[in-house]
Symmetry: C2
Subunit: 295 residues, 2 copies
Amino acid sequence: MFTGLSAFPLTPMNEQGIREDEFACLVARLAAARVDSIGVLGSTGSYMYLSREERARVLRLAMENAGDVPVIAGIGALSTREVLALAEDAQKAGVAGVLLAPVSYQKLTDDEVFGHFKTVCESLQVPLCVYDNPGTTHFAFSDELHGRIAQLPSVKSIKIPPVSLEPGAAEARIQRLRELIPADVTLGISGDPAAAVGLNVGCQAWYSVLGGLFPERALAITRAAQGGDTQTALRLSSQLEPLWALYREYGGSLRVIATVAEVLGDVSRPSLPQPLTTLQGDARKKVEQVVEQLK
Amino acid sequence: MFTGLSAFPLTPMNEQGIREDEFACLVARLAAARVDSIGVLGSTGSYMYLSREERARVLRLAMENAGDVPVIAGIGALSTREVLALAEDAQKAGVAGVLLAPVSYQKLTDDEVFGHFKTVCESLQVPLCVYDNPGTTHFAFSDELHGRIAQLPSVKSIKIPPVSLEPGAAEARIQRLRELIPADVTLGISGDPAAAVGLNVGCQAWYSVLGGLFPERALAITRAAQGGDTQTALRLSSQLEPLWALYREYGGSLRVIATVAEVLGDVSRPSLPQPLTTLQGDARKKVEQVVEQLK
């Protein structure tokens, strides 16, 4: 399940709550496109900004609309207690796997993060993907810690931060990590602009923001790389360079992809939980131009 | 209210919940010592690891045990919606003021942080202290943004990160900020090791971790500085150098002060919410030695 294209939809919302119809449509579209899995309540799904009840509602809507495509759910929270509660909710809803990031307020030690994953794994009947995203969690995994955590029986994948766009350096990075983790634990790339390179050098999965809104484009890149057609994967990714440029300019993928979804009418405006805002003014005009180019 | 010594108690807890008796004792001790205010649900009070219900319980216990000492409550959360709910709870409980940090998961822009404070201030009937703590919030205030936010009518104080221990540099820092904010907005120092210097160069408040457990020691430093006896303030602070050394070695004040409280028997062990842990092994032995020295 932690292989191929895992597509991460937005959770469209305003200050009154989740826009359930819009979320259901996003999930149904991913199922129709036949992505390999649907990753709800990831960073793109604003999981950290939702209440436990809202997350449970998202899980139910995802299960109702995903057809036979496996659903993976983010269960991250600051306290171990809360993660255990969220893991229970996700398993009750029937997810196929969970995604856990060591979200921090107080800076965490390696031993604290290991203890956190160990406690959570002991409560799980479904496999877990370790979510390594230092930009949002402010925790930097050492390779050694990845090795320790990957020995836990529930751990079956690691979602790694973007690799270098230089294939040699990217391959060396994957090799180094691969040597420290069990063979049945997959490595999945995140950071859409690095996905083609990551898949080409041996990542078995792409945890994809792009795929949550443009599943066909993300699938084309994924299938090319999986078939060994590295050049096609790179070419298809480079066609999206105007989008990658927006990610670089506006602090990552979330605000850009949410603005694109608003521009396309897939979600109502506003679509992000305050204090987060989609792009406005000149930035929004740039997004509109890129959307036109990509059509 | 946002002047003098504001003492921040721990919220002793285990995985089952808050140890209410121990928290009540900590608060009552601060009231008996006549600190100038009690800051509950700060970073030292593990606010980000508590549920809304637990925070409401902490507020009630604080109000019941603080006597006539003003209570300030942290209301920070990731989403603006949640902060508004917590502000309502705090005001209903009867707090004298609130403390708000721009806690982040997605990196925030200046405009988003301004909008967050503006929305919250519009819901407040009590004054607010801006909590600038980049080590935990991962948001770095510019001086210009401090100036903008300090114009909001509810804002009456800024809790700033540690200043330089070099008095000239510390004074220049305070002067620069002072020029950008209204005269009725106080500046309060945080980071215990920098408190004496900060008070000596013009900070009107000390938001104090030390004061939450050792109110008499923190009051002695504060009163010396307030009386213009800069040398005594520095001397009393330097007597605590073994404690400051522990803060430096173990990633800040929280784990150290919680371990000290456990060693002294003021709180039961464990006292922090998982995944956070107090110091164990050799680190704990060092804490025990420092506790002996300070007696």
